[in-house]
């Protein structure tokens, strides 16, 4: 399993496939502040990415792989900022 849950901390490691989206979502649905650690993550399926974007975990540790971090972190940060600002659509929602 590429998903490892230790209490409020969710570790996503290796290549996370579409199958991991549901367990991840269920973990994030539990009440409380979650921490998601992507440090050892090497690849994300789009489904995982959108769960992370929608759930906006309180803390998000970026992937160690700079390429992957550059790919997903701007989007995830933008989603979290949008949540913090409590503005209805995420900032980048109007793009395209």
């Amino acid at each position: 399993m590429a998903i490892r849950i230790a209490r409020k901390t969710i570790h996503l490691e290796g290549h996370c496939t579409v199958e991991e989206a549901l367990p991840l979502l269920e973990a994030l649905r539990r009440p409380g502040a979650h921490k998601v650690v992507l440090t050892k993550c090497q690849g994300l399926h789009t489904a995982i990415l959108q769960v992370l974007a929608a759930a906006r975990p309180a803390t998000l540790a970026p992937p160690a792989d700079p390429a992957l971090a550059g790919l997903v972190m701007p989007f995830l940060e933008a989603s979290r900022q949008a949540a913090l600002q409590r503005s209805a659509p995420p900032a980048s929602g109007a793009a395209a």
Binding site: H45, T46, Q50, A54, A55, A96
Partner: protein, 877 residues
């Protein structure tokens, strides 16, 4: 061919090309034919989709261009005309050639890319010309939205540019200025795409030359409890320096969800830094503007370099200079862009949209124009008004209210007006609670009275982006009057012909083994003296016989093809030839459903082609000549097929000038086909038949249509080889009819078994006219030839044993068994030893070393296992 997918694609693509070609011809006759355009569009779309699976990018590109053009035609943005049809047909022909090439070598020819580029550029020139962006190719339309001609140059999402590191941004700008095209790839994956194994994030990462990627949510995220992790709610924007084909190649599985558009250089400009001021900037601006106006780029470059060396690198204006320098480094600097950057450095403000006829940065400016032309607007208004009236009339009715709600919801959905849709839904809820239609009525009139019903362009695919329930409603109610896209999968099976042939052979063997049962019955009776047993065997035989015959019939049906298979190519052919010859021809096809065996249908193509070409070239006159003769200027060419007993009859009938027997005679003598004397002796009909002689041609010179003197000869030999007949009838000045009669099926041949010189031989039944027993004394010798008189006609006699070089065994019978046959248009009597029974056989041609032996049509097996040789009398005599 090793690739099974390719093996399936090739016949399918050919079929689709045929469909598109005939659809285009229909469209040419009737440009408003919606069924035809939908059919063509669908076919071309399918080819494009499937071709993406193979290494045939050029093919995909060309088909894509054609599809875009057809999309425009379909949405009534473009009028179809003959020139356009010509272009499309040429493109399809090219695709057809490539498909042949793919079949032979599994790769496209090396020049395919160039050809595809040239042809697709031609095609795209016909696309919305005034909106053509400076970048060149207009963007592809997403399915579900109307191909709006306005979005040619891409609008950059601001987030995307911000994501781009400054050096990368400058680099992209340098490339764009240097004539390279930077593409914006917008990718809106299908919501359900996870289920078919697509990972959009991974897909977009495959695009080469990526500069920056922006990911955004399609719809705002709702509460986490309602999130469906398997519905893709993301879309992607990517900036890439790769050429368009490479992007298409990378995204080939998702091409229909992707928009690729060139980005203009000025949209890439991003200047950051601290503001600064000073007279030096104003001086620079004045000097630079002067240089620019005078066209002194070198001086401008020097001025820029000088100022750059003194200004602090963090200043905004200094950065503007960096951009300016890059813009100037191009061989042919874009004057507007340079001017804008000079102004930026001078004023400290960059105005990305200078006076330009097509400001790409401000796409919304084009919106009103496209909306005003949107026919849905009126349609939607009509629909909404009628719903409003219906509600007023009926008052509160829960069911009706629900249906009105669905209709209105869908109309608004199709217009992309989500806000109003929400309002209507709220009104509906309220109406249900209060049991009154008033809230809905007022909401409706608010919608109708409000701003024009515009299509908001924000969401790329609104239908998919909506909650499942509403999307389903939308699918079930065709809102904008367009027919649903999906085509039901045809309940047919594509089977390799070899498999059917194998089945056919097996059944043939079954028939043969079945024929052994009567022998067995005979043996049971004669050898074992068991009459009972013999009877039972015969009963069983009757059952097996019936089943075998039914099976044979069923397999025959499988092999049957409609004549349409060959007729379908004629509309195109006749149209092209008629245009070339300057003749006006109305082609009428009749009885396309008539079916015949595949071999027959396939072999008929060439003969029919020759006949039709002959008709067009020689038979049908030019319009003026026709008018002078008192005939309508448009000639009529009728291709008619029908079934007559056991044969299929195909007639080619024209109302042209007819065949002049005198001219045929003269031409035949001139070409040395017949002597003068013989020609004079011929009746008119016989003279007409001369056109079937090899080497005959009336044409004065060889054209690329006909005149080589092979045409009709080919027709005759092909048709006769298939066991058919050809006849021509013609009336001078009124037209010509050519009639081909062919057996429905070649698989089973009826033969008669004859005995000669102690061996058995088969003679095809269709050659036998009758069987007679001739008393010896009635055989007369004329010179050295034996003859006899049958119903006042002299019939020459031949001995089969002599023809086959077999030793003759004189038999002391009083009369000779004579098989009267019809061979090469003449009757001949064959003296044989004895007649035997007739039977249905499956003829196997002679193969291998035996193939060269003449005189035999093939072999078959007898019930007792013996091989029977079947004679080919035409070759033998």
């Amino acid at each position: 061919m090793t690739n099974p997918l390719l093996a399936r694609f090739i016949p399918e693509a050919r079929e689709l090309l045929q469909v598109s070609a005939s659809g285009l011809l229909k469209l040419e006759r009737n440009p408003t034919d919606e069924t035809a355009i939908n059919e063509v569009f669908r076919a071309v779309h399918t080819i494009k989709g499937s071709s993406g699976l193979f290494d045939a990018l050029a093919l995909t590109r060309l088909v894509h261009a054609a599809e875009d053009l057809l999309g425009e035609v379909r949405s009534d943005a473009l009028q179809i005309d003959s020139a356009l049809v010509d272009m499309l047909l040429d493109s399809l022909d090219q695709v057809g050639q490539w498909i042949d090439e793919l079949e032979r070598r599994a790769v496209l020819p090396t020049d395919a890319d160039a050809v595809a580029h040239r042809m697709s550029t031609l095609l795209r020139q016909r696309l919305g010309t005034p909106d053509d962006a400076p970048g060149g190719e207009p963007a592809d339309a997403l399915p579900g939205t109307d191909p709006a001609p306005g979005d040619a140059a891409a609008t950059l999402p601001p987030a995307l540019l911000a994501r781009l590191p400054a050096p990368a941004c400058l680099d992209a700008f340098r490339r764009a200025c240097g004539g390279e095209t930077v593409h914006l790839v917008l990718y809106a994956p299908e919501p359900g795409c996870f289920f078919n194994g697509t990972d959009p994030l991974q897909a977009i990462q495959q695009v080469p030359g990526a500069l920056a990627l922006d990911i955004a949510a399609d719809q705002p995220w709702g509460p986490l409890e309602d999130l469906d992790p398997y519905q893709c709610n993301l879309h992607f924007a990517l900036l890439s320096t790769a050429p368009r084909p490479e992007i298409e190649q990378a995204m080939r599985y998702e091409l229909d969800r992707v928009t690729i558009a060139p980005v203009r250089a000025r949209d890439l400009v991003r200047i950051e830094g601290a503001a600064s001021d000073g007279p030096i900037w104003d001086d620079f601006r004045a000097a630079a503007s002067a240089f620019l106006d005078a066209g002194h780029h070198d001086d401008l470059r020097k001025a820029v370099a000088a100022l750059r060396s003194v200004a602090g690198p963090t200043l905004w204006r200094r950065q503007a200079l960096d951009w300016l320098e890059v813009a100037l480094s191009a061989g042919e600097p874009d004057r507007d862009l340079v001017a804008a950057l000079v102004a930026a450095a001078g004023t400290g403000r960059f105005d990305p949209a200078p006076a330009d006829p097509c400001p790409a940065g401000e796409a919304p400016a084009q919106q009103p124009a496209s909306q005003a032309a949107d026919p849905r607007e009126d349609l939607a208004r009509t629909v909404l008004t009628s719903q409003q009236r219906a509600l007023e009339r009926t008052g509160y009715d829960a069911e009706r209210l629900a249906s009105v709600g669905t209709v209105v919801g869908n109309v608004l959905l199709s217009l992309g007006r989500d806000a109003e849709r929400g309002a209507i839904r709220a009104a509906l809820d309220e109406a249900r609670e209060t049991r009154s239609v008033a809230p809905v009525l007022s909401a409706l009139s608010a919608v109708l009275d409000g701003a024009p019903l515009q299509r908001v362009e924000a969401a790329p695919a609104p239908a998919e982006a909506l909650p499942q329930g509403f999307a389903e409603d939308a699918a079930s109610v065709p809102v904008a009057g367009k027919e649903p896209e999906g085509r039901l999968a045809a309940k047919s099976l594509k089977v390799d012909q070899a498999k059917i042939d194998l089945l056919m052979n097996l059944i043939g063997e079954l028939v043969v083994s079945k024929n052994a049962l009567p022998f067995l019955a005979k043996r049971a009776e004669e050898t074992y003296a068991s009459r009972e047993m013999s009877r039972e065997i015969k009963e069983q035989y009757a059952v097996i016989d019936r089943l075998a015959q039914e099976m044979q019939g069923a397999i025959m049906q499988v092999r049957m093809l409609p004549v349409a298979e060959i007729f379908d190519r004629f509309p195109r052919l006749v149209r092209d030839l008629a245009r070339k010859l300057g003749k006006r021809i109305d082609l009428v096809l009749e009885g396309e459903d008539t079916a015949a065996d595949k071999t027959i249908i396939e072999a008929l193509g060439d003969p029919l082609l020759h006949i039709v070409r002959n008709s067009l070239d020689h038979g049908i006159e030019a319009p003026e000549e026709r008018r002078a003769a008192g005939k309508p200027a448009t000639a009529r060419l009728l291709l008619k097929a029908r079934q007559e007993a056991d044969s299929v009859v195909i007639e080619v009938q024209d109302n042209g000038r007819g065949i002049d027997p005198a001219r045929i005679r003269a031409a035949a003598v001139a070409k040395g086909v017949v002597g003068q004397e013989e020609a004079d002796r011929l009746s008119d009909q016989e003279a007409i038949n001369l056109i079937y002689r090899p080497g005959f041609s009336t044409a004065l010179e060889v054209s690329d249509l006909s005149g080589r003197g092979v045409g009709m000869d080919v027709v005759l030999t092909t048709v006769e080889k298939l066991g058919g007949q050809v006849s021509v009838s013609s009336r001078l000045g009124e037209g010509t009819t050519t009639r081909l009669a062919l057996p429905l099926s070649m698989a089973v041949t009826r033969i008669m078994i004859v005995e000669t010189a102690g061996s058995l031989y088969g003679v095809p039944m269709d050659m036998i006219v009758e069987t007679v027993r001739v008393p010896r004394e009635r055989i007369r010798m004329i010179k050295k030839a034996e003859t006899f008189v049958l119903r006042e006609t002299i019939i020459p006699l031949l001995r089969l044993s002599r023809l086959l070089h077999l030793p003759e065994q004189p038999r002391g019978e009083a009369d000779a068994a004579v098989l009267v046959c019809h061979v090469n248009g003449r009757r001949v009597g064959l003296i044989i030893d004895n007649f035997r029974e007739g039977m249905d056989v499956i003829l196997k041609p002679l193969e291998g070393v035996l193939a060269g032996i003449g005189g035999y049509a093939g072999t078959t097996l007898l019930g007792d296992g013996r091989v029977l040789l079947v004679l080919d009398l035409r070759e033998l005599l």
